[in-house]
């Protein structure tokens, strides 16, 4: 009987080498249960605080529903009385000073200071997560204190100011949430944050000690508040704004670009090795300036000889950017074309990989794809393609008639096979050996609207004219497009239909007295502009929902500022 085991022929040898990888070594399937290359970042700390929260909730319910609660109250009362027996004048003064750490003026300054700093540094994600955590902790503290009013400690004279229920300790909750906010939204990860954690722990310990010493709160109130105040913002920030994806940094650079050093760099190497069978010798960021969304990389993989590959790292940030962009377009223009956003990073990267294959099959000049690898399931994926050795961006290349003809023929070919690039701009057009190559097909579409195809043509002609002149490009275009088609392209063109890079470059030329767009419109037959506003019930509904959401958020912020929760 034939057995399949170690002696079986590897599957890769049963098939002829495909084109999905230049170098083939042993690929490794990740066994079920083994963590992915870059596991999610909740970490041991996050799990600890979640566990602590669950335990304390269960413990509190246990105390409330059993007679053990009364005994616990008595024990805490005995402790308060015992501590009060040790009070002396200087210790009282010291404790009152430490108690000032929980004063509203101090914690509110920390909270509002953090919010202002996040606004200044435009760290929106951190801001939203922090503000929601703040409000959630304030709401929870307030409601817990209202639902289960607990008196202040018995058996000892209470020194200092207090308000409301003893459970949970409001000053501790307010200080801890503010400190976690400062640490995880303003202090970069590393030594500084580590030191900050010690400082925060020292401040919280001082306040907790003072609260117990002055008989303002029971130890259990403090413990519970600590778990709420630290656990909730910590888990929220690690879940919704993980440092690996939203690093706190003060150097210049686009927030969308991820740090590919450290654990992520190692994860990329492992993932490419395991999933594509390539050994990455070096990986470094490449062409960040031209990339607004993904993080572009150049990989050096082992081979004979070693060779370069291009890779694009996609994360959830890019997915959200895509959603926001499409939502904005829907509000501003309606459903001009497919405005449905991707519902997962996997699908986004899968789509681009598929588009590269389709374009390649259709003979559209673009980089060959070698597939993509999973870094963190549903969160981070890396698309690996051919590296265009010797290729230069069209803004730096010689553009002669051959290049112009090739670029226009590419658009014609795309029209014929029914695809659109949708992001034709200088940064996405490379020139190699007198031929153009299109890159960044993330926005490309199969069976696009005629309007979108016309816009692709106009954008390509504008890019070519930026490097040459409109008259020459127009004359060359007449060899592959009719005057009416060119007229349609410029009738469809608006400021919003042009990628921002092209728009900015055209503006510079216009300032220099050379209005390229106007010249094309003079050259092409006159045609009324094509309307880009599309009205629908959906657009009105979405616009109203966003407006109501904005007003609601504003009202909540104002209300919480008035009540002191912020």
């Amino acid at each position: 009987m034939e057995t399949i085991g170690h002696d079986a022929v590897p599957a890769t040898e049963l098939r002829a080498a495909d084109e999905r990888g230049p170098i083939r070594s042993k690929r490794q399937r990740r066994p079920s249960g083994r963590p992915p290359p870059l596991p999610r970042e909740l970490g041991a700390g996050g799990m600890f605080w979640i566990g602590a929260l669950v335990f304390l909730v269960a413990f509190t319910i246990f105390l409330l529903v059993t007679q053990v609660g009364n005994s616990f109250e008595r024990q805490e009362s005995v402790l308060s009385r015992w501590i009060a027996g040790w009070r002396t004048g200087w210790l009282n003064r010291l404790a009152l000073i430490a108690n000032g750490l929980g004063a509203t003026v101090f914690t509110r300054t920390l909270r509002l200071g953090t919010i202002v700093a996040l606004l200044v540094f435009r760290r929106w994600r951190h801001l939203i997560v922090f503000v929601v955590s703040l409000l959630f902790v304030a709401w929870l503290t307030n409601n817990l204190g209202t639902y289960s009013i607990r008196p202040r400690p018995f058996g000892a004279r209470i020194i200092g100011g207090w308000e409301g229920s003893s459970f949970p300790s409001r000053p501790i909750a307010e200080l801890s949430v503010a400190l976690v906010g400062v640490l995880y939204t303003l202090v970069p990860r590393g030594r500084l944050r580590d030191v900050g954690k010690f400082v925060a722990a020292a401040l919280l310990t001082a306040l907790a000690g003072a609260e117990v010493y002055l008989a303002l709160n029971h130890p259990a109130d403090i413990l519970f508040a600590l778990v709420l105040g630290v656990g909730i913002p910590l888990v929220a920030l690690r879940t919704f704004a993980p440092t690996s994806v939203f690093p706190v940094q003060y150097r210049k650079g686009r927030a969308a670009h991820l740090d590919v050093g450290g654990p992520r760099g190692a994860a990329i190497r492992q993932a490419v090795q395991d999933q594509l069978g390539m050994t990455v010798l070096e990986l470094k960021p490449f062409g960040l300036a031209g990339s607004g969304g993904s993080t572009p990389l150049r990989l050096t993989v082992a081979g004979d000889p070693d060779r370069h590959l291009f890779a694009k790292l996609y994360a959830q940030t890019h997915l959200r950017a895509d959603r926001s962009y499409k939502l904005g377009r829907t509000i501003l223009y309606g459903t001009l074309e497919d405005e449905k956003s991707y519902n997962s990073v996997r699908r986004l990267v899968q789509y681009e990989d598929y588009l590269l294959l389709v374009m390649h099959d259709f003979g559209i000049p673009c980089a060959k794809t070698y597939g993509f690898v999973e870094i963190t399931p549903e969160r981070e994926y890396l698309l690996v393609t051919e590296f265009l050795e010797g290729g230069t961006e069209i803004t730096e290349a010689d553009v002669d008639d051959a290049v112009i003809d090739d670029a226009l023929a590419t658009i014609r070919r795309m029209w014929e096979v029914g695809v659109a690039h949708r992001d034709v701009k200088p940064a996405n057009i490379m020139v190699r050996d007198g031929k153009i190559m299109l890159i960044d097909l993330a926005f490309a579409e199969i069976r696009p609207s005629p309007w979108r195809q016309a816009v692709d043509l106009a954008n390509m002609m504008l890019v070519l004219a930026l490097r040459t002149d409109p008259d020459r490009v127009y004359q060359r275009a007449l060899r592959v497009f009719s005057p009416d088609e060119i007229a349609e392209a410029f009738a469809a063109t608006r400021s919003v239909t042009m990628p921002s890079q092209s728009r900015n470059m055209l503006r510079e030329h216009r300032k220099a007295g050379r209005d390229i767009l106007a010249r094309f419109r003079e050259l092409a037959p006159q045609r009324p502009p094509i309307a880009i506003q599309r009205w629908s019930v959906r657009r009105i509904g979405i616009t109203l929902a966003v407006a109501v959401g904005f007003l609601l958020a504003l009202a909540l912020i104002v209300d919480n500022l008035q009540t002191g929760a912020l």
Binding site: N70, E73, R74, S77, R81, A84, G85, R87, V132, L135, F136, W139, L140, N143, T146, Y147, S148, I149, R150, P151, R152, F154, G155, A156, R157, I158, I159, G160, G161, W162, E163, G164, S165, S166, A215, A236, T239, F240, L552, L556, D559
Partner: protein
């Protein structure tokens, strides 16, 4: 199945959008009785440790509800809303002292605790407004009536009947049975 992120988001949104809710019973300063939470009363007693009495609500007359409250050291207040006299139609304050120099003393009704009562009418119906002070050893309770136009004295009588007092000594005694000591008037504590 929803992801934890979505669940967390929904919980947070629910929390943030739930600003207007019913005031829970735990915070209502109901007078002592079986099944009633005395947390608010004890906290009030702790807010003014010298006070011999703390105010409480015996029962809500028809049309009256608990509006809210604020208890902090040195000052306690809560208020009741009425469907006829308006929101915060009666505000009850417990303080160490109170200024009743513009008020006139009135005799206590039969069965009321031993304390001096002062009335300070401010405005007569149709927009009734008045202060009443209960002055006792170590404290003062003020009822501030501020009615909507059209409300009558009848609502003031209703509210007054709903409000009464608990003697600190009784609270101290009950808590001692539970094994804890309520510091303040008559009970010295360390520190």
């Amino acid at each position: 199945m929803r992801s934890p992120r979505v669940t967390l988001t929904l919980v947070a949104a629910g929390v943030l959008l739930s600003g207007c809710g019913e005031v829970p019973n735990g915070s209502v300063p109901l007078c002592l009785g079986p099944g009633r939470n005395a947390g608010s009363l004890i906290l009030m007693a702790q807010s003014i440790p010298s006070a011999a009495y703390v105010p409480c609500i015996s029962d809500f007359p028809a049309g009256w509800t608990f509006g809210g409250g604020r208890i902090r050291n040195g000052h306690t207040e809560f208020w009741m809303d009425s469907d006829r006299a308006g929101v915060a139609a009666v505000r009850v304050l417990l303080t160490r002292d109170c200024d009743h120099s513009n008020a006139v003393e009135v005799p206590p009704e039969a069965g009321e605790p031993l304390m001096k009562i002062y009335e300070e009418p401010i405005a007569l119906p149709p927009t009734f407004s008045s202060n009443r002070y209960y002055v006792f050893a170590g404290g003062c309770v003020t009822y501030r009536f501020s009615f909507l136009r059209g409300a009558t004295f009848a609502q003031a009588v209703e509210a007054t009947k709903a409000l009464t007092f608990v003697a600190r000594a009784r609270g101290v005694s009950l808590l001692a049975q539970e094994g804890v000591i309520l510091c303040g008037r008559g009970v010295r504590c360390p520190g």
